[in-house]
């Protein structure tokens, strides 16, 4: 289902790894997205990693929900792609980065897509602006015919 770039021990939830992160533990995990089942996997993997970084319950929900929206965009618009979650470190600050990428049709008008209420798939049209509100950093690049990359990050309060 997923390829861990280090040792693959992402199943940290409830295993006691959350407080004491050994250096060998995977700090970056890629989840291939091909179906709605992978959306669930991506948000669980992201949540587990964020838990290890030390985010609290409310933030874990925000992060998992953001991942869910990004992964669903891949399934809806591009059919396949991947979500990569990664631990961020900046001095004493720690955070998590989520990059969703696909080689789908791309978004013709990114400015439009970032407005509340805009959707081309009959969804609620709240996907991207909503994700931006949930996270601290948000970057999108999309090329029609080549695909879309959305990079978001959240830092521990």
């Amino acid at each position: 289902m997923r390829s861990d770039k280090h040792d693959g021990s992402v199943a940290a939830k409830g295993t006691g790894l959350a407080r004491n992160v050994p250096t060998s533990v995977s700090r970056e995990t890629s989840v291939p997205i091909e179906s709605d089942l992978d959306i669930v996997t991506a948000r669980q993997v992201g949540r587990a990693l964020a838990e290890r970084v030390g985010f609290e319950a409310g933030e874990l929900t925000l992060i998992a929900t953001a991942i869910s929206e990004l992964a669903r965009n891949i399934v809806l618009y591009a059919k396949r792609g991947e979500v990569v979650v990664k631990v961020l470190e900046n001095g004493t600050k720690r955070g998590i980065e989520v990059v969703s990428s696909d080689e789908g049709p791309g978004i013709p008008n990114v400015t439009h897509a970032m407005q509340d209420g805009y959707s081309t798939s009959g969804g609620l049209g709240l996907g991207l602006p909503g994700v931006k509100r949930l996270m601290d950093e948000f970057e999108i690049s999309s090329v029609v015919g080549h695909g879309t990359v959305v990079k978001v990050a959240k830092w521990r309060a």
Binding site: D36, R47, G58, L60, T61, G123, G130, R133, L134
Partner: protein, 120 residues
């Protein structure tokens, strides 16, 4: 992962047990809409206590479910939305407007009993 739908008197109780995929949720919606006719139920409770994520898709499915149940002549109450989930939904701009919600199963049953009495 199929969601068990229990019949309790005039009501149906769909008690979500684990994280659900989009197709699981759609299946739940369809099953409830069908069973409400088969059992001539007057109310439906969907217990989302275990859901740690309610995103745009699951919110839309629950809203559709409630509206379909209303069209079938019964009432729906969503119970167990967790505090973090409620916070995230508000941030995302997701709403369950016009849909009854209650703190937990007990409150949900009380709500259906109350509104049922008013109607009869």
């Amino acid at each position: 992962m199929e969601v068990p739908i229990l019949k309790q008197g005039d009501y149906l109780i769909a008690s979500i047990q684990s994280a659900l995929s989009d197709s699981d949720l759609a299946q739940l919606r369809d099953a409830v809409v069908e069973k409400v006719g088969r059992f001539r139920s007057r109310g439906v409770i969907v217990d989302v206590t275990v859901l740690d994520v309610m995103d745009s898709f699951s919110t839309r499915i629950l809203r559709d479910l409630a509206h379909m149940i209303r069209l079938r002549g019964a009432r729906t109450v969503i119970v167990g939305v967790q505090p973090e989930v409620a916070f995230t939904m508000v941030q995302l701009g997701l709403r369950l407007e016009g849909i009854a919600t209650a703190l937990d199963l007990e409150e949900g049953l009380a709500y259906l009993d109350e509104t049922g009495e008013k109607e009869s």
